[in-house]
């Protein structure tokens, strides 16, 4: 069961996102999801995955990568908290889009037996953070997980699914590699993320150049996320929102930090050039519209946390229709009834 993933590591080193899954010569890769030719209807090609890989590699090779890690560390620790809240041990776990391994450093050997970390950027995997859990690093794309069905007890994903082109397919892949009664704990950026930056750039570009092009990537809405998880086959869904506000000295510092995190824009429809005048105008607008009392400017990161379970017979199910023993009309008499039972 473990061998397919390890065998494929050699083949995956030469493989990048442009090669369709069925051309992999690794015999043991058996993705039950239909191959690339028949992606789910309505799947878009929004993001340039090869460029995202270059950006993440560049970010991981910066002299001080921990300078830009604050957001991912915070969300990674929140995911680890949620994993601890589940009263179970997970012998085999997978981290999809792990970056430098922000979740693994908060977990311990008792909870997780062995951890597989996957990312598209090899330099991020090479510079991964210290953890006491035995880990295996696999270079893989979030949409083409090279693992067999029913492999993992736990799959986590922190802040990497917002760059995935075919999100329904990625969630289906995650559901596929999970064992029955396995759980997926994920976090991704939500609709309101960086709305201040988005608005400032739109206004400045309209005023300076007469029109605007998108500079912030599109995010999933929270309702759509619930539907996507349900469509992928997950049970007992939980989706909740969290907002992290980080204060920066100004817009330029914010943009530098976003680039350092590896979160630069990589959509195909991005404009290649942002004029100096437009940047100056946007910084002035940002400061004027959103400034805090101490002169700093806020940037909002909205995080969606989601938990989904793979179906198993032991999980609680809704009761059968017609199996009720009491009616809602008797709610008022509930206290009297329980007191009566106690006295008997």
């Amino acid at each position: 069961m473990l061998r397919p993933g390890l065998l494929c590591r050699r083949w995956l080193r030469r493989w990048d996102a442009r090669v369709p899954a069925e051309n992999l010569s690794c015999r043991e890769v058996a993705s039950g999801i239909p191959p690339l030719g028949s992606t789910s209807p309505g799947a878009l090609n929004i993001f340039d995955r090869a460029l995202k890989r270059k950006q993440k590699n560049w970010a991981a090779q910066q002299p001080e990568p921990m300078r830009f890690d604050y957001l991912k560390e915070e969300v990674g620790s929140q995911i680890a908290d949620r994993v601890y809240d589940i009263a179970r041990d997970f012998p085999l776990a997978l981290d999809v889009g792990c970056g430098r391994g922000y979740i693994a450093q908060h977990l311990n050997k008792e909870t997780i037996g062995k951890f597989f970390q996957t990312d598209i950027a090899e330099h991020a995997l090479k510079n991964s953070l210290e953890t006491e859990i035995p880990t295996v690093s696999v270079l893989a794309d979030e949409e083409f997980l090279p693992f067999q069905e029913n492999t993992f007890d736990l799959v986590v994903s922190s802040l990497s699914l917002h760059w995935v082109n075919d999100l329904p397919r990625a969630l289906e892949q995650i559901h596929y590699v999970l064992k029955p009664d396995g759980v997926f704990v994920g976090a991704m950026f939500g609709g309101d993320t960086l709305y201040e930056l988005r608005c400032s750039l739109q206004l400045a570009e309209t005023e300076r150049e007469g029109g605007f092009s998108p500079h912030i990537s599109p995010f999933t809405a929270v309702n759509d996320l619930g539907h996507l998880l349900g469509r992928a086959g997950f049970n007992t869904l939980t989706v909740d929102t969290d907002e992290i506000q980080v204060n920066y000295p100004g817009m330029f510092e914010l943009m530098e930090d976003l680039q350092g995190m590896g979160e630069s824009n990589c959509s195909w429809n991005r404009k290649a050039l942002l004029h100096r005048d437009t940047m100056l105008a946007a910084a002035a607008v940002y400061r004027e519209m959103y400034r805090n009392s101490d002169g700093s400017v806020p940037a909002t990161y909205q995080i969606y946390h989601m938990i989904g379970w793979k179906y198993h017979d032991s999980q609680a199910r809704p009761a059968e229709r017609g199996s009720a023993t009491m009616s809602f009309g008797e709610l008022g008499k509930l206290n009297l009834m329980s007191q009566g039972k106690k006295s008997q």
Partner: protein, 74 residues
């Protein structure tokens, strides 16, 4: 990016000086920001060069701050 990244580093160092030059032009930046923000209220319409005057003031202040820092610095 080139092999040693010299061009990128030079351009990025120039870019890193932007925040302090913008800080030197506080008043003009506020004026420009207020002009753009006024157009976002209901009934306002943002079109090209609506706040061109304020932006020209901001830009000339910015360029002056750049010249001053160049003369004073290197």
């Amino acid at each position: 990016m080139s092999a040693n990244g010299a061009v990128w580093r030079r351009v990025r160092s120039r870019f890193r000086a932007f925040p302090e030059r913008l800080a030197a032009c506080e008043a003009e930046a506020v004026a420009y920001g207020k002009c753009v923000q006024a157009s976002t209220t209901p009934g306002g319409r943002l079109s090209k060069d609506l706040c061109a005057q304020e932006f020209e003031a901001l830009r000339s202040c910015f360029v002056a701050a750049a010249k001053k820092s160049l003369k004073g610095g290197s």
